[in-house]
């Protein structure tokens, strides 16, 4: 009894320490957004009074509203499109698996093993020839279908009980109907995970928007952030405020979607 109590305490201590180490840089970043440049570099750990000054300097310096909207629009479109295309493919690869589809899956997996730098010039040429420079379409197209997401849905479909598929077929549901009405609700936590990581990847994407977003009006948040550190003198208070703003959407999305981890799902496998 005492032994398990000690183990329990140790568990909380371990989780607490891990959580503290995990959030320290983020907390420091938020605190730094309220400090002056000199205090940020001096490693000040307490909140300051410079938040308003930093905010005014930032909004005078850059059109942060435009960049946020561009990033948000690009990332949301990319995320929704990816989830639709990749989840149905991952489901298809697992539920209807045969030698041909298994082989195709392995071939597709290879696509994630090439560094982006190696394919960005041909991609840039394609987008340029299609006259899509500086558009959301250009941003989204190469990221809609990713082997990683397809593979995630394929692996997760393995947890989807076959009995449900069989009984749904007997109930007269079409194959697409089974996917839409049975698979999607049951796999909520997988969708949440996929949504978070896809949104985050699209939100933080740097190299691709850098070369295709030619007009100043189409700049995304990461591009705006890189402007802030390019001069001879960097204002770190302003910078920390800008990056604090830039990570907020990801955190909000995570907080919204993470509830699906908490609820747990009871499958009716009867």
């Amino acid at each position: 009894m005492t032994k398990s109590k000690i183990a329990n305490v140790l568990k909380y201590v371990f989780l607490f320490v891990a959580a503290m180490i995990s959030i320290f840089p983020l907390v420091w970043m938020f605190i730094s957004a309220t400090n002056t440049s000199g205090d940020v570099l001096g490693g000040r750990l307490l909140p300051g009074t410079n938040l308003l000054v930093n905010f005014r300097a930032l909004t005078a310096r850059a059109d942060i509203g435009q960049a946020l909207w561009n990033s948000l629009r690009n990332a949301l479109v990319a995320t929704v499109a990816s989830l639709v295309v990749c989840s149905i493919a991952g489901y298809g690869f697992e539920v209807y698996h045969d030698r041909g589809k298994d082989f195709l899956m392995r071939v597709l997996l290879l696509s994630m093993m090439i560094p982006f730098a190696a394919i960005m010039i041909p991609l840039f040429m394609m987008v340029g020839q299609l006259n899509l420079l500086s558009t959301t379409t250009a941003f989204v197209l190469p990221t809609v279908s990713t082997a990683f997401l397809i593979f995630l849905f394929r692996q997760s479909a393995r947890y989807f009980p076959r009995d449900i598929i069989e009984s749904s077929r007997l109930d007269g549901l079409s194959e697409l109907g089974i996917f839409l009405r049975m698979y999607i609700p049951v796999m909520r936590s997988t969708y949440a995970t996929a949504g978070i990581i896809t949104f985050m990847a699209a939100w933080n994407n740097y190299l691709w928007p850098l070369i295709i977003m030619q007009s100043e009006e189409s700049r995304t948040m990461p591009l705006l952030l890189s402007n802030l550190v390019a001069g001879y003198v960097t204002d770190y208070g302003l910078l920390m405020l800008a990056i604090s703003i830039s990570v907020l959407p990801t955190i909000v999305i995570f907080l919204l979607l993470q509830r699906s981890f908490a609820e747990g799902i009871v499958l009716s496998v009867k």
């Binding site: 371990f14 995990s22 698996h97 090439i114 692996q155 910078l239 799902i265 009871v266």
Partner: protein, 296 residues
Amino acid sequence: MAKTLNNLKLKSRQSIIGWAFVIPAALLIFIFYFYPIGRALFLSFQTGIGANMQFAGLANYRRLLSDNLFKTSLTNVLTFLALQVPIMLTLALALAYLLNDKTLKFRGFFRTALFLPCATSLVSYSLIFRSMFALDGFVNALLTNLNLITSPINWLANPWTAKLVIVLALTWRWTGYNMIFYLAALQNIDASIFEAAVIDGAGAAARFFRIVVPMLRPIILLTAIVSTNGTLQLFDETFNITNGGPANATISISQYIYRLSFQYSPRFSYAAAISFVVFILVAFLAMIQMRVGDQR
């Protein structure tokens, strides 16, 4: 007889529907990945800059054999892979297992806190890592106060400690990321299986190894392939924390490719050749992982 025929028809009908499900995604990957990869492969057999390209056969690949920086960067990323991926995935599994306990207090807080590192901006976290591991930084102060070291260690100036800092940084950033895949998968495991094990009298450790790990195998396979790939294509951490130093002790292959493409006199065809060697290496490792892990 008629029934089997019907069954066969049904099977092939289902197979066709299955193809319809997978083909849009596959087509997009062929257009936006394999076509450019083909162009890059073609490029890797040439030399020159811009419009002045000549066919060079395997010259770029032969060059790799005598390229010391390539060998150094390859050794570096393989070292990171061997040290970091097992530590990170084990830690992520353990954390997911702890957090999947419905009786655990503050679950939401722990889950969010552990996930946040991968959402934290690279700029702020590399700033913090560099200053924490400075000669007069937090880590040296802590270790000195605990009497673990007598004089401060110059972490980023020594090849092995610099590698260690990179491993720590990677683990810090990506453990929570991998954890949420495990958490999502654990949600899909029927709770009754755990309950049965508890009634069985299996201890926590036994449940972990006998139930959780085997049940999570499909997702462990996924994270192993993704982390292997991520480590071999490592760029952010070494570029921002150590810039490849000291004396190239932490330079990664992707950073070398970046230098060859955008900092040095551009050598895209050679960079493409390096990319393909990485590609073959990762594909080989992934194949082994699929063999071991992808059984239905």
